[in-house]
Subunit: 149 residues, 2 copies
Amino acid sequence: MKEPNSPDSPLADLCRQRGLKLTGQRRTIAFVLSDSDDHPDVEELYRRAVEVDPRISIATVYRTVRLFEENGILQRRDFGGGRARYEVADGDHGDHYHLIDADTGKVIEFENAELDALLDGIVRQMGYDLVTTRLSVVGRRKAKPRSRG
Amino acid sequence: MKEPNSPDSPLADLCRQRGLKLTGQRRTIAFVLSDSDDHPDVEELYRRAVEVDPRISIATVYRTVRLFEENGILQRRDFGGGRARYEVADGDHGDHYHLIDADTGKVIEFENAELDALLDGIVRQMGYDLVTTRLSVVGRRKAKPRSRG
DNA sequence: TCTGATAATGAGAAAGATTATCATTTGCAA
DNA sequence: TTGCAAATGATAATCTTTCTCATTATCAGA
C-alpha cells in the first residue's frame, strides 16, 4: 500500500486548479497517474489504484479518466487492442508522438520539432487551426547488420 | 438494387490475387468498397451491401472486413466515436492522412510528400522500418477574416 | 466545528461494438 | 458432377464502456 497523501501529486494540484472537487478517489487516481510514465489502460489504472485504495471502484476510474480528459489533464490514445490508453497531457510546449513496435507492441515516445511545425503548417494551409495531433507510427526493428557474419 | 456482377470490381480482383475464396458475399462487399470514397463503418457498409444483396448478414460484413484488413486490402481507421471505420488501402506510392473537423467531425484527406519523407526518416533514425502511419489531425476551421465588415 | 446541499462513489445492470458458435450452404478442385 | 473444406446466417457470448440509483463524501457557509 503506497502513500498517496501529504503533499498532493502534481496532477491533484492540477485537478484543484481546474476547480474540480478533489475527492479521495481522484487524489488516488491522480497520484497513480503522476507515478506512471507509460500508457496504461483503465484496467491497469484500476489495478494500480487498488494498491493505494483497495475500496476504489472501476466505475470511478472510468469516470475520473473521462473527467480528466475533458479537462485537458489526460490524453486518450488508441494503440490498437480495443481499449483506450491514457497518459498525462503535454504542456504548452511540444506534442510528443508514438512509435509502436510491430512485433512486440512496445510503445516508444519521441518528439520532433520539425514534425510539429510541418503539421501545423499543413493544417493552417488547409484553412484550419490545429487542435490535436493523433500520430502513431508502426515500425519493425531493422535487422542489425552483423559485423561481418 | 445495384449491379455487382459481370466485370469484377478492382477489389474483387485483388481478393482473387491474394488467393482468397471469392464468394458471392465477398464479391458484394468488394464492390461496395470499390464504389465508396469515404470512410464507412461496418454498420454503413452493411447498409450498402444490403442494397446489392438483401440476404447478406452483418456477421459476414464484420468477418470480411477483418479478412480484407489482414490481407492488406483494407485499412482500419479510428476517428473517435467508438466504431472502426474502413477505407481501401493505399498502393505502394504515398500514404494519405486525415484532417478531422473538430466541430463537424467531417474527414478531409490529404497527402504530403514532405511528411512522408520526414516520418520515414525519423523512424529509420530510431532503428526501425516504417510499417504503417496512423495520423489524424484534429483542426478547427479558422474564422474567415471578413472583408472589412 | 458542524450542517446541509450537491456532487461523487460503488455495485451491478445496460448498452454498444465486435467476435464466437454451430448447423447449413457454397465455392472450387479433382 | 461430387465431395470436402471453408464460408455464411442467425444469434449467443464477450468485451469495453457508460448508466442507474441508493449511499456516502466534499466543501461552502453558519
